[in-house]
């Protein structure tokens, strides 16, 4: 729609760009002044989203969670927001802004927050399909689509973003390469040795790193889609090319309207973030301050605050922009990397301390001032636990200890800087510019828990990098004020999990509401209800769907199945030790076929069937139970699987029957409720094909019996299990496991795996051995008896449910209709079902109202 000059929309403040910084500016402006009229013109089709966490889109974070605000919020704030509105031209003399769609806006003050765009090096062939960049949501969707048709992906550029992009390609299942022109990775943040170690570690994780390679052309490939041709004559074939060779500021608007721009791009600003035209400001990644572009969000936020302050308070404004710290700590492809200040020791006279541990793969470097008193920079690769402390030394220019090397030497016990000694001016959260003094002030004003402190100061709500430091500042500050740091379960119970367990046992309490009325307040919540449900189950081992316990369970425990993203459920029958007969395999296959379920072999040696609707669960389990299957407790905080290797029965190296042992153990502990899930494995010999040393309980056969390993963990924080006892006979083995597990159930906090429990246990492994092997507490017999009682009262929850008409009543989607949930819809992929995406659902629903795609096949 072409509009005439008369239609010009007048705004006191006009903002171009609604990225992270543009959005922050609006928040800051409205916090200071609700009155002035504001218009925002945004080139992207959606509201500002969190670019920093953009990559989490690939690990399943729905895009809606990345949005920083809503259109409704903009309406409430009375901000006129124009999405999909690309600005072509500014005419500063007339204070007018022209958009691509023909609209014209006038302003009194203009704020440019146009950010930057990825630089694509001028390599012939760079404009072909499947040659992509990594910056916007649209880019990510393009990458996803391209990856679905690709096997190999190459990222050109080995900087911070390039490595993040490589991680994304790896997660999308591609064979991944990183090509870097410089002789090392992350040349901006790391020194040469740090970059080399990073490259080595990343290679070990399966990403191939090519440094010192100048790409000259992208030609057609022979084996894969393209061939990258390098200056040194070497070649690399790939299906997908992802450029991550740096960013360039979106400064065209400034350039064409005569604002001063830097030689290498960027709209020049002063300390007030004003451009060469005093009515025009520039903030974020499009702005050039003292020859520097800041490619991080925190400096952009600072600029946004400066301009908001300036526009509202005018002559009384106090804030100025004075540069920003570019230190970073992050995890790249699983490798911890930290970079602070002058990493290359470029300050004249600077001295460096180096520490390397080739075995653990740690590299640490301190750069200190010529007199050894101040920390100028640091590089940490492999272990960034000292980062917060070092950053505080550097930022606050605090005097270093006499032997600064202590700060990077392992286990010197000295490294953590107590938060108490930090000055009040120390910046704790750089994203939201929160100093220690702000946090102490909030505590002084009566804000006493971490969540409220986060809420009122905004600390740790940006990139999240400061969360650990914030927590220690809060904890220490509260302690210093004599407030006991709470281990309370939640707002309803001022007790820890163990304390509640004691209350239940000592007072013989049997229901949640008894416990709540005597020891708690409010109505409970999704934390205390399942916890108490689990405690009651481990004390009394009653059927979990018995009436008083019903409302206590998570949906997974209530319906004895795992809820999936679309509200359907998965079904995991127990397949003890991973051993299964052909007949049972056929039953599973037949059931899956009859109900059109998605089949997948799990990481725990059994079979998961996905896509069952709530009302189908009992029908499916009826068939499975009749065929002799039991529930696999995939939903519970309970024993999952006991993985086995084939062992001495078949394997030429096996020394014991690992399968038989695994089945016996799985049957002993199945159904056991615990603070977290428990996994076990039994290997038939030292080759360890069952990976027992990554389990909570790991057993490895020896010539003379069984070696017992404890408290291993895979998952988010892998931990190698500790050798607990060697060459045990089966009876001793079982009695040790009984004691360890029962002791764990009695003493661990909620949602604590055995690995973390052991690390927190005073005295550690030696103490646990003392309690279990030497019975130092005199409770061994009692622990065993309790376990025996639980094992003796085991009953399959699915069988019990099928026998209970009252419990079965719950397995209906509607209590007043036989209809199915019309929002559960599937499409076919690789010859099986998968949940339809939101877009697909919309299409279906237009075509076939309220109908399940698989309904017919089941009837």
């Amino acid at each position: 729609m072409q509009q005439t000059f008369q239609d010009t929309v007048k705004a006191q403040i006009l903002v171009i760009g609604n990225g992270m910084v543009g959005h922050h500016f609006i928040e800051q402006l409205r916090q200071r002044d609700a009155g002035c009229s504001v218009t925002v013109l945004c080139g992207e089709p959606q509201l500002a989203y969190d670019r920093v966490y953009l990559s989490s889109y690939f690990t399943g974070t729905p895009f809606s969670e990345l949005l920083m605000s809503t259109e409704q919020w903009y309406q409430e704030q009375q901000v006129d927001l124009q999405l999909n509105c690309w600005v072509e031209r500014i005419v500063p003399t007339e204070r007018l802004v022209y958009c691509r769609d023909g609209r014209v806006f006038s302003y009194e003050k203009l704020v440019l927050a146009t950010g930057s765009y990825p630089f694509v090096p001028p390599i012939p062939g760079n404009d072909q399909p499947h040659c992509l960049v990594y910056r916007t949501l649209q880019d990510l969707q393009n990458i996803e689509a391209s990856a679905a048709q690709s096997k190999v992906g190459v990222v050109i550029g080995g900087g911070l973003l390039g490595l993040e992009a490589a991680n994304a390609l790896k997660q999308l299942g591609l064979e991944t390469h990183v090509v870097e022109f410089a002789p090392q990775l992350m040349a901006v943040q790391l020194d040469q040795a740090g970059g080399a170690l990073l490259a080595q570690k990343i290679q070990q994780l399966g990403v191939t790193v090519h440094t010192g390679k100048a790409t000259q052309a992208i030609a057609p490939g022979t084996q894969y889609r393209y061939q990258l041709q390098f200056a040194d004559g070497s070649r690399l074939e790939t299906d997908l090319v992802l450029f991550s060779a740096g960013i360039r500021p979106y400064d065209q608007l400034g350039r064409s309207s005569g604002l001063v721009v830097g030689e290498r791009g960027g709209i020049v600003i002063n300390d007030l973030c004003q451009t060469s035209d005093p009515s025009i400001y520039a903030i974020g990644e499009c702005a050039l301050w003292q020859q520097k572009i800041f490619g991080l969000v925190a400096p952009g936020y600072q600029m946004a605050r400066v301009v908001a302050d300036r526009l509202v308070n005018q002559q009384q404004a106090t804030l100025t922009f004075s540069g920003a710290d570019m230190s970073t700590k992050l995890k790249l492809l699983g490798v911890e990397v930290g970079s602070i200040g002058d990493t290359h020791a470029r300050t004249p006279g600077a001295m460096s301390y180096l520490f390397t541990d080739p075995k653990a793969g740690h590299y640490k470097k301190l750069v200190v001032s010529p007199n050894g008193k101040k920390l100028l920079g640091a590089v940490l690769v492999g272990d960034t636990s000292g980062y917060d402390t070092l950053l505080q030394y550097a930022l606050n220019e605090m005097p270093l200890p006499a032997n600064p090397e202590q700060l990077i030497l392992p286990a010197s016990g000295q490294t953590a800087l107590p938060a108490l000694v930090l000055p009040d001016s120390a910046t704790i959260c750089s994203c939201h510019n929160v100093a220690k003094g702000d946090i102490v002030g909030a505590i002084g004003a009566g804000v006493c828990d971490l969540a409220s402190i986060k809420h009122c100061t905004k600390a740790a709500t940006g990139c999240g990098g400061c969360s650990a430091l914030l927590k220690s500042v809060v904890d220490e500050e509260l302690k210093a004020r004599g407030v006991e740091v709470s281990n309370h379960l939640c707002e309803h119970f001022a007790y820890s999990r163990q304390e509640l367990l004691h209350l239940i046992q000592v007072e013989g309490l049997t229901t949640f509401y008894q416990i709540l009325s005597q020891h708690g307040k409010g109505h409970g919540c999704e934390i205390c209800k399942p916890t108490i449900g689990s405690l009651l189950a481990s004390v009394y081992n009653e059927y979990v769907l018995k009436k008083p316990h019903v409302g206590l369970q998570d949906t997974n425990d209530t319906f004895l199945a795992n809820m999936q993203k679309d509200g359907s459920y998965s079904i995991v029958p127990r397949i003890a030790g991973g051993e299964i007969t052909a007949d049972k395999l056929i039953v599973i296959g037949q059931v899956a076929k009859d109900f059109n379920l998605y089949c997948k072999i799990t990481g725990g040696q059994r079979i998961d069937l996905f896509g069952a609707r709530l009302e189908q669960l009992p029908q499916i389990w009826r068939l499975l139970v009749d065929a002799g299957f039991e529930t696999g407790h995939a939903y519970g905080k309970s024993l999952r699987t006991v993985k086995s290797c084939v062992g001495s029965t078949w394997c030429r190296y096996g020394v014991q029957d690992s399968v038989g042992q695994a089945i016996a153990i799985e049957n002993r502990y199945k159904g056991l409720r615990a603070p977290h899930k428990i996994k076990m494995a039994v290997s038939g010999c030292t080759r360890e094909c069952a990976e027992a040393q990554s389990k909570d309980i790991g057993i490895i056969a020896t010539e003379r019996g069984w070696n017992l390993y404890v408290c291993g963990n895979g998952g988010m924080r892998p931990r190698h299990a500790d050798l607990f006892a060697t060459d045990l006979d089966t009876n001793t083995l079982i009695s040790y496991i009984d004691r360890i597990l029962m002791f764990y159930i009695k003493t661990a906090d909620r949602l604590t795996r055995t690995s973390v429990w052991l690390e927190k246990l005073d005295g550690g492994l030696a103490y646990l051995q003392d309690v279990v092997i030497n019975d130092s507490l005199g409770i061994a017999a009692e622990l065993e008896a309790q376990m025996q009682r639980l094992a003796g009262t085991y009953a399959c929850e699915w069988k019990a449910t099928l026998d209970d008409p009252q419990a079965l009543k719950r397995f209906r989607h509607f209590v007043n209709s036989d209809k199915a949930d019309s929002n559960i819809l599937f499409v076919e992929e690789r010859a099986q079902i998968r949940p339809a995406t939101a877009e697909e659902k919309q299409q279906f629903q237009l075509q076939i109202p309220v109908k399940n795609l698989t309904e017919e096949s089941i009837a």
């Binding site: 409704q72 409302g551 559960i824």
Partner: protein, 122 residues
Amino acid sequence: MSFQEICSLDDLVENSGVCVLVAEQQVALFWLRPDDSGGTGELFAVGNFDPVGGANVLSRGILGSVGDKLVVASPLYKQHFCLRTGQCLQDPSLSVPVYPVMLSHHKVLIGSQPVAVDAVAA
């Protein structure tokens, strides 16, 4: 506002939720009855669709309270929705519809239209 008889009290689960169909809309119906003292407790009805997870699951969430607000926690990603106002406590820009509900002679009656609730007043 017309009320419709939806189900009987026996169809509900104490201190937990069920889902009912009201005028082709999915409604999560909760029965809060924290003691056995004989009272009938309190009923709440809100939309069953979880706007965060994008699935019809709120009836399968755990009931509880945050401060003095009665809430249900979504079983998918644990956001709390206020039973009286429908508002999401974690993201006040989101909310679920709230339906008027009453109990009469052991029957549950639900209004066919959601009510407008003033989040601040409630």
